[in-house]
């Protein structure tokens, strides 16, 4: 078990380094793109561009620049933004609780919905509930999340605001420590919006896995032993079907904590990690970008690590792979 954890930790560090290099390369080596020119703007003279290169150290060799930036980011912790020379780290730190609140709440909703719908559809497969739930899931998957968010906003903040949703605060984010009720009110519909598509996907995955497990010998054995149907389902089938479910969950939650919920964040005006990533990208603000992607990759790796170690503890088969 310790060897397994150690192996996973080394692999995780490797992924972090690889991702940071990848972002660095996308920034500097996307063919045909010159970041200094982009920062300087359209009417910049060559002198201005050269000045920017010198200011930001872009005239040094790439590996030197990379190591320099990583040193200032991780060891000295004094990296500053290209655009306003403000420190980078507090800016990233401020966005993390926003995204954590959004993704955490949404995850609770989508897991509960998916567990319920997926199990129901698998148990009653072939009957009316099954195609109904799976059809709903398909619709959920197909709705573009930023559009769904817009429609939800229209209903809750516009059309029905004076009748049904008068209690809802305006869009934005309030820390839970400042005003828990407002925090909840502002996040409730973002949670639902983000959860709908994910719930559809997860319910479909769970149903398929349950049906697959239903054919296996150990389920036959469990039934032959005379176990009740609910015990077979809960103790034998779900426990096995949850393995792919949980690893999928790890990937998605990690990605979202790392910024992949950017569309939801933008529609609902939540100043989260994805929003910061997008802003720093569109302003060619590499220091902020590096900090926020590294944090994002860290979130992905960490969540996956927790999921994997949890499962290795539960399921000895995984340790060997």
């Amino acid at each position: 078990m310790i060897a397994y954890v150690a192996r996973r930790l080394v692999a995780a560090a490797g992924v972090l380094i690889a991702v940071s290099v990848l972002v660095f390369l996308i920034f500097f080596k996307t063919p045909g793109v010159d970041p200094a020119k982009q920062i300087a703007g359209k009417q910049a003279t060559p002198q201005v561009i050269a000045q920017i290169r010198a200011d930001f150290g872009m005239d040094k060799p790439l590996p030197v620049q990379y190591l320099d930036m990583m040193r200032r980011l991780v060891i000295d912790r004094d990296l500053v933004s290209y655009t306003d020379r403000g420190p980078v780290l507090p800016r990233v730190a401020k966005t993390i609780p926003v995204t954590l609140s959004l993704v955490g709440g949404a995850a609770v909703i989508w897991v509960l919905l998916a567990l319920g719908a997926g199990t129901l559809a698998a148990v009653f497969r072939g009957r009316l509930v099954d195609p109904l739930l799976m059809g709903l899931g398909l619709v959920g998957i197909s709705l573009p999340v930023f559009w769904l968010g817009g429609v939800v906003n229209l209903l809750t903040q516009g059309t029905l605001h004076h009748s049904l949703f008068g209690w809802l605060p305006e869009l934005g984010y309030t820390p839970i420590t400042v005003n828990p009720a407002k925090w909840f009110g502002q996040l409730l519909f973002p949670w639902i919006t983000l959860a709908i598509g994910m719930a559809g996907l997860y319910a479909r995955v769970l149903r398929a896995d349950l049906i697959e497990v239903d054919r296996s010998d150990f389920v036959l054995t469990a039934r032959a032993k005379g176990l009740s149907e609910s015990r077979v389902l809960l103790r034998h089938m779900l426990r096995n079907s949850l393995i792919p479910f949980v690893s999928l969950f790890g990937l998605d939650v990690g990605a979202m904590l790392g910024g992949a919920a950017v569309l939801t964040e933008r529609v609902f005006g939540l100043p989260g990690v994805g929003n910061l990533t997008f802003h720093s990208l569109s302003r060619f603000d590499l220091p902020v970008l590096m900090a926020v992607t590294l944090y994002g990759a860290f979130a992905v790796v960490l969540v996956n690590l927790v999921v994997d170690i949890g499962y290795a503890a539960l399921d000895p088969r995984i340790r060997v792979r």
């Binding site: 992924v15 690889a18 991702v19 990848l22 972002v23 996308i26 920034f27 996307t30 063919p31 045909g32 793109v33 010159d34 020119k37 982009q38 398909l138 619709v139 998957i141 197909s142 709705l143 573009p144 999340v145 930023f146 559009w147 769904l148 817009g150 429609v151 906003n153 229209l154 516009g158 983000l194 598509g197 994910m198 996907l201 995955v205 398929a208 792919p244 999928l248 998605d252 990605a255 979202m256 790392g258 910024g259 992949a260 919920a261 950017v262 569309l263 939801t264 933008r266 529609v267 994805g274 990533t277 997008f278 990208l281 569109s282 060619f284 992607t293 994002g296 990759a297 992905v300 790796v301």
Partner: protein, 354 residues
């Protein structure tokens, strides 16, 4: 995600092309592909979905006809001082000063040939723009999906068939890209290259060109196709019929073409509608962020973006393209499910945008 599938027992060593699937066997004669196609045509959900998809595609293809002959306005030219005549003969300006705040309030749906769904913030016909936008979204989805499938097939075949160092390098590269959320990867590359385009050697993909989002979206989804293809190739490569082919002296080209490809192709075919759907969602997401399709060209994503600004007063402008997009994606998913059930019942594609 998907484990390499167990190699199916070879049906008959003497057959040059092994069967890519078995479910259609009861359906009478013809090759396996044709039997599968026949099974698909019998399913009502497939026919309904295909009809809806065809209707949307045809409508969008007719966009120039609609703009020229029905609405009679150029949907790509701003028209800030124009006006249109309503049913009762009154003349309405396309844009009015907003009653609250700054900005303008465009005319709403007239339910007539001119400005059926109203005008956007620049006085352009929303209905015509939605049709033109659909053309771009469908085109980008189709070509990016095809690019992802072709690229994934190539990389997967290379990694799986050649093996060794090539497989090691390709697989590690796929792993790194896989660890990076696909949405973030696409956003990063799109945002960086949005104003200057990408140049690959002497080929230059300009910033306003549709080829830019097609290229970016196609490339970021390559791992989604390459991984299952590699797994399938690995499991087929050691099958008896491949050894048989080797033993009668078939070269690599022939083995890949006649023995490996027929088995792997069903994997890619199953993924294709889903990749198109996912690519369309990603394109709309990028365009919504303002880093996809360049204005004044439109896509469903850019129109949703424009409409979101006017959501309170002119909700249809964002709702209609979104509903069309959702319908198209949904229908493609239904088709993808049906094709998977027919040709590759065990595959578990995982693809979407959040």
């Amino acid at each position: 995600m998907t484990e390499p599938r167990q190699a199916r027992p070879a049906a008959a060593v003497t057959r040059a092309a092994p069967r890519p699937f078995e479910t259609g066997r009861a359906l009478g004669g013809g090759g396996p592909w044709r039997r599968g196609l026949r099974a698909l045509c019998r399913s009502p959900r497939v026919m309904v979905s295909a009809a809806i998809l065809a209707a949307i595609v045809v409508l969008c293809l007719l966009a120039p006809l609609y703009a020229d002959h029905v609405s009679g306005t150029d949907p790509f030219v701003a028209n800030p001082v124009g006006s249109t005549v309503l049913d009762d003969g009154t003349e309405m300006p396309l844009l009015q000063p907003a009653s609250r705040g700054v900005g303008v309030l465009p005319i709403g749906p007239t339910w007539q040939a001119h400005f059926l769904l109203g005008a956007d913030g620049s006085g352009r016909d929303v209905a015509a723009r939605i049709l033109y936008g659909g053309r771009n979204t469908l085109l980008i989805g189709l070509l990016a999906g095809a690019l992802a499938c072709a690229g994934g097939l190539l990389v997967g075949l290379l990694a799986g068939y050649v093996g060794g160092v090539v497989d090691g390098v390709l697989s590690r590269a796929l792993d790194v890209v896989w660890a990076f959320p696909v949405l973030m990867l696409a956003i990063s590359i799109s945002a960086i290259s949005f104003t200057s385009g990408i140049s690959l050697g002497f080929v230059r993909v300009g910033s306003g060109s549709l080829a830019l989002p097609i290229l970016i979206i196609g490339v970021v989804y390559v791992p989604y196709v390459a991984r299952p293809v590699r797994g399938a190739v690995l499991s087929v490569r050691t099958a008896d019929y491949v050894h048989a082919a080797t033993s009668y002296g078939a070269g690599h080209g022939r083995i890949i073409r006649r023995e490996i490809l027929p088995n792997v192709l069903s994997r890619v075919l199953v993924l294709f509608p889903l990749m198109v759907a996912t690519a369309m969602l990603l394109e709309s997401g990028l365009s919504f962020l303002g880093i996809g399709v360049h204005p004044p060209a439109a896509s469903w994503g850019t129109i949703i973006e424009d409409g979101t600004q006017l959501l309170r007063n002119r909700p249809l402008m964002a709702i209609v393209p979104g509903a069309l997009l959702a319908t198209t994606v949904c229908v493609l998913n239904v088709l993808g499910d049906a094709i998977r059930d027919t040709f590759d019942p065990k595959a578990e594609p995982r693809a979407r945008v959040r």
